[in-house]
Each structure stands twice: as C-alpha cells, then as structure tokens.
Symmetry: C2
Subunit: 132 residues, 2 copies
DNA sequence: GTGGGTGCAAACCGTTTGCACACCA
DNA sequence: TGGTGTGCAAACGGTTTGCACCCAC
C-alpha cells in the first residue's frame, strides 16, 4: 500500500529545487511553481517537499528564525545558517573524525549519518554589526 | 531609555532555568513558574526568555520539530539534538580548530563565536528503529 | 509620577490536515 | 475502478503583540 504514483506537481517541485542553487522556503518554491501550475496549492507543495525529503531526494534545513528551507542538491553535505540574515551556505568536507571524538560516547557511530547545521553570524552581517 | 527594571517574574524564570539541568521548552518553564506565581502569563515567559537570551544569561536552542528549548548554563557550549525524540545533550570541547579549517573563508574567524547545534539520531532512537 | 513590566487575549505565521474531487495505474 | 494525489480552507501549535493596568524606581 501507499505505492508512489507520478504527479506533475511533484515532478515540477523536484525539478525546480534541483535547478536552483539557493535554499528556498516552501513559499518561494510555491511562487515559482504557480507560474507553470497556477492552481497548485501551498499544501501540495508542503506535502511533496516532505515526501521528497523522506525519499532523500532533497534536504530540509531548519532555520533558527523563520520558515524552513530546502536544498535540491543530492550529495549529502552540511550547512551554515546565518542567525542574522538567514543566509545559508553549503559546507562540504566537514572533518567528521575530530567531531566524532568530541561527542559523548552515547552518540558514537551515529553522528556520521547526520546532517549537521552550523549556526552563526556570516561575515557580511558581522561587519555590518561591528562584530569583526 | 529602555532601562532594565527588576521583576520577580524574570528573576523566577532565570532561577528556574539555572537550577535545572535539562533543556525545557517555554511551556515547561511556564508550568513551573505558575506554582509560585499562578497568574503569570505565557507571554511574559516568552518575553523574559527572549530578554535573557539577548542578555546572554541563557541560551536558546532551536529544535528541528517542536518548540524551542532553553538552557540556563552560562558557560558557552554546544548541543546535540535528536531528530527523533527531541532529546538534547550538551556537547563540550568541540574541536573548533578543525572545524574552522573546513569552513569556507567567508566565515573564518566567525565560527568561533557561534553556538553550534548538531542534529542527528540519538543512540536510543537508533536502536529502537533498527538503525544500529 | 513616569516608563518599563505584566496579564490577557487576539493575532500571527509557518505548517498540517480533513474532505471532496481529480487523476494515475 | 481502486487508490493515490490535489485544491481548498480550516485548524493547528508555537510565538508575538496590542492594550490597559500594575509596579519598580
């Protein structure tokens, strides 16, 4: 049961996410898709984003403030989220080995599987606020 | 302007957070404070938690799902948040040096200042779900 | 007395869900 | 035709906010 069926809406959402290089919110994707499918509903966008995330075809990124963001890049990688402006930057090649060592033994062997999100202040915002 | 005035509500919230060793939600703090101040409102709790966070006296921790959590521990440290059960574990002594090297040069010198939150699946949940 | 703090309730915002209809297989 | 997907709108949960009153200074 619950066999996956084709839908052009889901296809369009996936394609949109794969093509763009930013990390849009559900609403930003919704705006884009509505150009091609004016009747699509925001609920459908959320449902498909959740489904694609579950399938591992996209990544969901939680922000500290504001709405969640999505990443169409298939290759697993991590993110840096700016607390001030919400900007998201891809972080590749995180040194997992040294991270692992610092984690309590409760989590040994598990961190490897995780998507890690770093929060902080990006250079631009730090300069604006005189933190740098 | 905006001079900080004493309030026993804020004092009580701060004390409550400092004494406990878990990472409660605003609502959990609210429940506790109501024992001493039955008329306190949830809005006041949120206002004071935000204020204390801004003052750097407590830490706000964003969860992937569910409500934000708060940490009364003054010493800066990082967190591991379990995606499955929401459990939060303190992570001390993160190897910042190796992390820094892996970050893009856009953020060099800034990551050191950040609270980092690791997301993943805790050992217990991983065992429950057969991931381990 | 003045201006910040509180309690209350309504509003807010992102997200989820129930339902009837549409469409893929 | 059977069952999954959609559009719509209402509901939801956590959080914020406007307002009148209260209280620290």
């Amino acid at each position: 049961m619950a066999t996956l069926k084709y839908s052009r809406q889901r296809e369009s959402i996936k394609t949109n996410l794969m093509q763009r290089k930013d990390h849009p919110t559900a609403d930003m994707v919704y705006s884009d898709i509505r150009i091609e499918y004016p009747n699509i509903s925001l609920g459908t966008v959320y449902r498909n984003l959740a489904l694609l995330t579950e399938l591992g075809e996209i990544q969901k990124i939680s922000s500290i403030d504001g709405p969640d963001r999505y990443d169409g890049q298939a290759k697993p990688h991590n993110h840096f989220v700016c607390k001030k402006c919400g900007k998201i930057v891809d972080v590749m090649n995180t040194p997992m080995d040294s991270l692992m060592k610092s984690m309590s033994s409760d989590f040994e062997g598990l961190v490897e599987e995780c998507n890690i999100t770093f929060y902080g202040v990006c250079k631009e915002c730090a300069q604006k606020e005189g933190l740098i």
